[in-house]
């Protein structure tokens, strides 16, 4: 489930990345058009236009001579050039309709170029015009002065000279007027006057003629340049700079409009997209809230579970300790059962062992008691026969009859071989009683209730008594071979040692099918230890269970047949005596248990005890 959730996050993450990218893209697109640039450009164009207008005005001023110098005309030129270059860079601002913008700008630049050229020409022509106009009065004065001098020196044609002077003044006036408000009529008039004035030149002194020429050339220059300047001014005015600027402006405006429209469209998209995003966010929020709810609930449950867990752990601990307690009790119970069951077995065996001699002892005694009647009768008869014999005057018949009775009775006893039989029965009875007392002695030896502590014990005695106890179990199963070595007394608890031997012998008997042999061997193992071996010719123990046989509760018997404690108790007893026990077995051949027991030093008798011993000796 977790894996599913984790993989479920992958497409969601992807979707998120895509959405954010789209959002970023749209945002960038709305931001890509720079409005400030547009306004800057518009301002630039306006400035250009204004400057252009000023320029034209300045040109006009220069022409009319209001402006005596050309700075106003040339100054804007630099600014205009710069602004034009700036305007030319506007192309970068145009993205969609670059072509339009470029052509507009190119047109503007051409216009500006031609205008600049015209202005340059105007400047030169105008300067010539200005120059001539400036020098015209001086030239007129020169002519007048020559005229004056000529009139003084030579009395030549004063009238002509007078007329000439008048013509000169008129020409000067006319030319000045013309320069202020030129017209074709005035030019023609001037031309005519000039031609008239010059006609008489030959007649005039040389100096006058020279001055007149200068004057005339100036007038001519004025006339010519005036026309040129006017033409240039017209040309300048005709250059469509403003229109081009307007064109650029138009392009800019349309660009702006387009950009605005596009921006609006993008905004709509953005709004739509944002709406979608908001919906998605809302959905995610709902999901999140729900998840949070789930997490909260689970958390609560976890907390509850945790609290429950503690309680459960406590309960379980209690249960476990209870179970442990029960186990201990049942273990104790089992050990008790084992004791009781071996006790029961022992009682059954001992009862059988005692009941058998008891049976024939009792039977024999009853038979003897019965036979004693016959013997008592015989005795009575004998006595009465003797009495008859000893009685004086006894009748022979009576005596004979009595003697026959005695004879018959004696014959009966003899025939029955009674005395021999009685002796036999009594001997058997004595034997039975001996057997019974032997059993009782062995029982006492075996339990050794009077000796629980460790004493120096003759192990052979212990083995013998255990064999007597187990006789009933063994006798039909095995022949017991005792191979007793020369071993010293061993410090041990006699009852426990006997129990060990009984257990091993019992096991050996149970392992034997049919008749077998149980061999009990004792020997001095080394300086400190004696060795006791109990070997049988039974079915043996399979190697896989051999290591387990000393484990408590291990049993191969059916349930209820044995507690599996016998050998574990044996092991425990041997361990408590600081001895060792091991088992070797071969399936089908038999099993051998080997016990090594330390002989142990007897605790040294105290001085007082030694003294007592000495006294006793």
């Amino acid at each position: 489930m977790n894996a599913l959730k984790r993989t479920g996050w992958l497409p969601i993450g992807g979707l998120f990345v895509v959405l954010v990218s789209v959002l970023g893209f749209l945002y960038l697109r709305t931001q890509s058009y720079d409005h400030t640039r547009y306004f800057e450009n518009v301002a630039l164009l306006r400035q250009l236009k204004q400057m252009d207008a000023q320029w034209e005005l300045d040109a006009l001023k220069s022409k009319s001579g209001i402006n005596t110098h050309y700075d106003p005309l040339t100054d804007p030129l630099v600014s205009l050039e710069q602004l034009t270059e700036q305007a030319a860079h506007m192309t970068s601002a145009f993205e969609q309709n670059e072509g339009n913008a470029k052509s507009a700008i190119d047109a503007f630049r051409t216009a500006m170029h031609s205008k600049t050229e015209l202005v340059e020409q105007f400047k030169s022509h105008n300067s010539i015009l200005r120059n001539s106009l400036t020098f015209l009065p001086t030239a007129a004065e020169d002519v007048q002065r020559q005229i004056g001098q000529a009139a003084l020196s030579k009395a030549a044609d004063r009238v002509a000279l007078q007329r000439l002077s008048e013509d000169i003044n008129r020409l000067l006036l006319q030319t000045l007027v013309y320069s202020q408000s030129p017209s074709a009529d005035r030019a023609a008039a001037i031309q005519a006057d000039l031609a008239k004035g010059l006609d008489g030149k030959g007649a005039h002194p040389v100096d006058v003629g020279a001055a007149l020429d200068i004057f005339a050339s100036h007038i001519k220059t004025v006339l010519r340049e005036q026309t040129n300047v006017a033409k240039l001014l017209n040309g300048i005015a005709a250059v469509p700079a403003a229109a081009r600027i307007d064109g650029m402006n138009n392009v800019l405006n349309s660009q702006q409009e387009e950009a605005t429209e596009e921006a609006q469209e993008l905004r709509r998209y953005l709004i739509g997209f944002s709406a979608v995003l908001i919906m998605l966010l809302g959905y995610a929020a709902v999901r999140l809230a729900r998840s949070y709810g789930v997490i909260n609930r689970m958390n609560r449950e976890l907390v509850d579970a945790n609290e429950g867990l503690e309680q459960k752990v406590e309960e379980r601990t209690q249960e476990l300790s209870q179970a442990l307690q029960d186990l201990k009790e049942s273990e104790a119970q089992l050990i008790q059962n084992e004791k009781m069951s071996s006790l029961g077995q022992m009682v059954a065996g001992v009862a059988h062992e005692i009941n058998t001699p008891l049976g024939y002892v009792k039977g024999n005694l009853e038979i003897v008691a019965n036979r004693m009647n016959d013997i008592a009768n015989l005795e009575d008869l004998c006595r009465s026969a003797v009495h008859i014999l000893s009685t004086r005057g006894a009748k022979t018949m009576e005596l004979q009859a009595r003697l026959r009775q005695v004879y018959d009775m004696a014959m009966k006893v003899t025939e029955a071989n009674m005395s021999e039989e009685l002796a036999d029965l009594v001997n058997d009875g004595i034997y039975g009683v001996k057997q019974m007392s032997e059993i009782v002695v062995n029982l006492k030896n075996f339990s050794r209730l009077d000796r629980t502590a460790e004493v120096r014990y003759d192990l052979h005695e212990g083995i013998d008594s255990a064999l007597v106890i187990a006789k009933n179990i063994i006798k039909h199963k095995a022949e017991v071979k005792k191979v007793y070595g020369n071993i010293p007394g061993v410090m041990c608890s006699p009852s426990q040692f006997n129990q060990v031997i009984l257990n091993l012998v019992n096991n050996a008997a149970q392992a034997i099918e049919g008749m077998g042999t149980i061999t009990i061997t004792t020997a001095r193992h080394d300086r400190e230890r004696v060795r006791i071996e109990v070997a049988d010719t039974g079915c043996g123990i399979p190697p896989e269970i051999l290591p387990k046989i000393f484990d408590p509760f291990f049993t191969t018997k059916e349930i209820g047949q044995g507690t599996g404690l016998g050998l574990s108790i044996v092991h425990k007893i041997i361990e408590s005596h600081e001895g060792t026990i091991k088992a070797e077995s071969e399936v089908g051949k038999g099993t051998k248990f080997t016990i090594l027991l330390p002989i142990k030093e007897e605790p040294k008798p105290s001085l007082r005890e030694e003294l007592q011993n000495l006294e006793a000796a």
Partner: protein, 318 residues
């Protein structure tokens, strides 16, 4: 002593004693040689050989012996010489041995060691008398264990049990060969017995049901030809000994019972009942001991005595 030794002429009834303790055999010889032809041996196989060769009226066997147990010996003796009476003389009453001797050995009596001479003489006397009666009667066909089907018999089977499953089981086992009647209590059983004679009575008893043990004894006294089976979960040695000595119980069944073993028990019971009817002399085998006076006078069980006493005497009619 492995060879069977005889101690008297062949004219006297012959009794065989089997015990691994020779002194017991010596005592027995001393006790019985005056009246019987006493044969003794310490070995079961020798005893079986003897039974196959010679006529023996009674065998008395110890239980715990090397090589062959008493129960084993009695079972074999039953097979090789069915007319020979069988008594077990165990040194210690161990339950499995007693149940085995009932169910397998079909033993006549138990006598525990140490015995009382008078008592053993009496029981042996009774057994020998019956053995003499049986001697010469046709040897009933030995029931073979392979004979599975329960044969048909008049009278059918009475099941006395408060629990239904036993009845169902018995009916299933008897199939349609025998009628099976079930009653819940002893009172009802008495009523049923008044009306008709049953060949087989199967009783289920709860632990310590003294009245049922008593009933079985009284029933056998009244109708020795009725074969009885007891189903009880708890058996103790003394109860079992009492039931064989006083009620000649045919089978002592301890649950759980497999349907196979129930079938073989019921089948054997029916066959036994058929044999008894065919050879009335065999009935003597089933003579039971008189009840102890104390039990007879027990007022609690009075109704049982009265009830059984008032039952019609059917054997006389035969």
């Amino acid at each position: 002593m492995t060879a069977a030794t005889t101690a008297r002429t062949a004219t006297a009834p012959r009794v065989l004693f089997l015990d691994d303790e020779e002194r017991i055999l010596k005592t027995m010889k001393a006790l019985f040689r005056a009246k019987y032809d006493v044969v003794t041996t310490t070995d079961g196989n020798t005893a079986i050989d003897y039974l196959q060769r010679d006529r023996v009226h009674l065998v008395v066997s110890d239980q715990r012996m090397p090589g062959m147990t008493g129960v084993e010996f009695l079972r074999k003796a039953k097979d090789v010489s069915p007319n020979t009476m069988r008594i077990l003389l165990p040194g210690y009453s161990d339950l499995s041995a007693i149940l085995g001797s009932i169910n397998d050995g079909e033993v006549f009596r138990f006598i525990n060691k140490p015995w009382d001479n008078q008592e053993i003489q009496k029981v042996v006397g009774e057994a020998v008398d019956i053995g003499l009666k049986l001697d010469g009667t046709a040897r009933p066909a030995a029931p073979s264990s392979s004979e599975q089907a329960v044969p048909a018999i008049d009278g059918g089977i009475l099941v006395i049990s408060p629990h239904r499953p036993l009845y169902e089981d018995v009916r299933a086992v008897a199939k349609y060969s025998c009628e099976v009647v079930r009653v819940l209590s002893l009172q009802a059983a008495l009523e049923a017995l008044k009306i008709k004679e049953f060949a087989l009575v199967v009783v289920e008893a709860d632990p310590g049901a003294e009245d049922i043990y008593l009933f079985l004894g009284l029933l056998k006294q009244k109708y020795p030809q009725v074969v009885t089976l007891l189903v009880t979960p708890t058996a103790d040695a003394d109860t079992a000994i009492g039931l064989i000595n006083r009620a000649q119980l045919f089978r002592f069944i301890v649950p759980p019972i497999s349907s196979e073993s129930l079938k073989s028990s019921i089948g054997a019971g029916v066959r036994h009942a058929l044999t008894l009817r065919a050879a009335p002399a065999m009935l003597a085998r089933h003579v039971v001991e008189e009840l102890p006076e104390v039990q007879k006078q027990s007022s609690v069980m009075g109704w049982l005595f009265e009830g059984l006493r008032s039952l019609p005497a059917r054997l006389a009619a035969r």
